[in-house]
Symmetry: D2
Subunit: 155 residues, 4 copies
């Protein structure tokens, strides 16, 4: 990227704890066995070990499961910058699947490229850590911040 990177400053000094608590409340993360690997301002990494019950018909991890971890990495990257009483929802994302998800485990990394009052945009990637850190998928995600919106429990 040749455009200037944004300065990413969290509104809430307790951002990392807040991200961890919200992550813990996700049944889906427990089900698939994902864990939080890194929390920094505007940047989150999630680790997913390979498991056979996460696969599609060719034995690779299912594109939807790959999406699940990178959507989360992007959503929490956005969430890390927000005020303590905010919650976030992905409103849309786009995934390119560049290589089959094979390997012992996978890192999903989300990074804020445009923080905003209402809308935050993140880039994500999934790679298989190893000699060549092979890139498996990329994501661009648009996340909306909600404050006190009825029907949405705070994150």
């Amino acid at each position: 990227m040749k455009a200037t990177k944004p300065i990413l400053t969290p509104h809430d000094p307790e951002y990392a704890e807040r991200v961890r608590e919200s992550f813990e409340r996700q049944g889906a993360m427990k089900l698939i066995g994902a864990t939080l690997a890194k929390v920094a301002p505007g940047e989150v990494e999630i680790y997913l070990p390979y498991r056979e019950d996460l696969t599609q018909q060719h034995g690779f991890v299912h594109a939807g499961i790959v999406t699940t971890i990178v959507d989360n990495a992007c959503g929490f990257a956005a969430y890390s910058l927000m005020p303590a009483d905010a919650s976030v929802l992905s409103i849309e994302f786009k995934v390119n699947l560049l290589a089959p998800a094979k390997g012992d485990g996978f890192i999903a990394r989300g990074e804020v490229i445009k923080p905003g009052r209402t809308i935050t945009v993140c880039n994500g990637e999934v790679y298989a850590p190893g000699e060549d850190n092979k890139l498996i998928a990329t994501m661009t995600a648009t996340v909306i911040m909600l404050q006190g919106r009825s029907g949405i429990p705070q994150g």
Copy 2:
């Protein structure tokens, strides 16, 4: 859509059985409890009952799980039209999340909008069946057909 819909003719009369066999080989579908609800030429539906272990931090089904079923519905919709020795891979998709995934269960529907020799494009949607069949998410997916590509077991 005002553009003419494509005529969707399967290459393989055994297409429905082939889709069902491939679906059965997906560990991820068993893990989340999804089942195949409809298989027609260029159109597939998948049903997912609500479960607490599929949720995100607000108690709705996780966007990644929603993506998992609609990616599958799109991929199998494409697969239903293909020759018996072909396999398919999603190369990219884009999801818009229109409403929280709450309800007793969800239908993901995939439909081919442009069949092709190499590239097939599908539209997908997820809704909560009920009085108003509330639309939860839409997908556009690009699927590639592989024939005898090394390293990819045939679907």
Copy 3:
């Protein structure tokens, strides 16, 4: 679509006039020769006659020009539902290019699939009107409504 279609009610009875005025202010539409063909609540069509100076290297209309008209059709479809003092901006879109843009002219059609207070989601398509109304491109667009946001003159 099997999900229920939304009911699309404009906030402003003068919506059609408002759309036409905003369209007229777009230098880009004059440059490429596009005209407004239909304005209904949540649905807009734009017509673009073929011109050689709109082409890419193979003589088809450039994908970016195709995008220009369908982005507009989507944006104005969203705008047609909004209050008189609102303006709209596309925050993201995704385009699938299904067939080369060849023909005497092209219709871009945008339609609201999810109206909202802040975020509206639209589907778009571009086709070459004729015997078979051949589908050339599809779009999904996310549009944000702005009211009194500094720096953005009202639409």
Copy 4:
């Protein structure tokens, strides 16, 4: 990006000349006043000076015009790596519009993130060169290589 970047080697030593010739054949680039600013293996930049006839209703350059230059930057970045007899077509792209396109001029930069025999994936960005090189838009584009496909004149 923490995943390893791909090594980008052009098949054709005359790649830069080939890109320039193909660019020259695009009527649309002349119409909007865009020029080729950089051609390297897997990386292309296009410059677009601001003009009033490129604008939308708020006086910013139209999102479709922004898309036109970054789609081209991505397509030519892919094309720069391909054999001399190949041509390329974008099959889909996704654009996030991060800031209004205001400024004296704009750079669109396309970069290959995954080269392939059939499918190449590129990232693109548009920024307003200046003190802060403000990021205006990002793109992810999927490009297909065609060789001797009937009906498509070679690029």
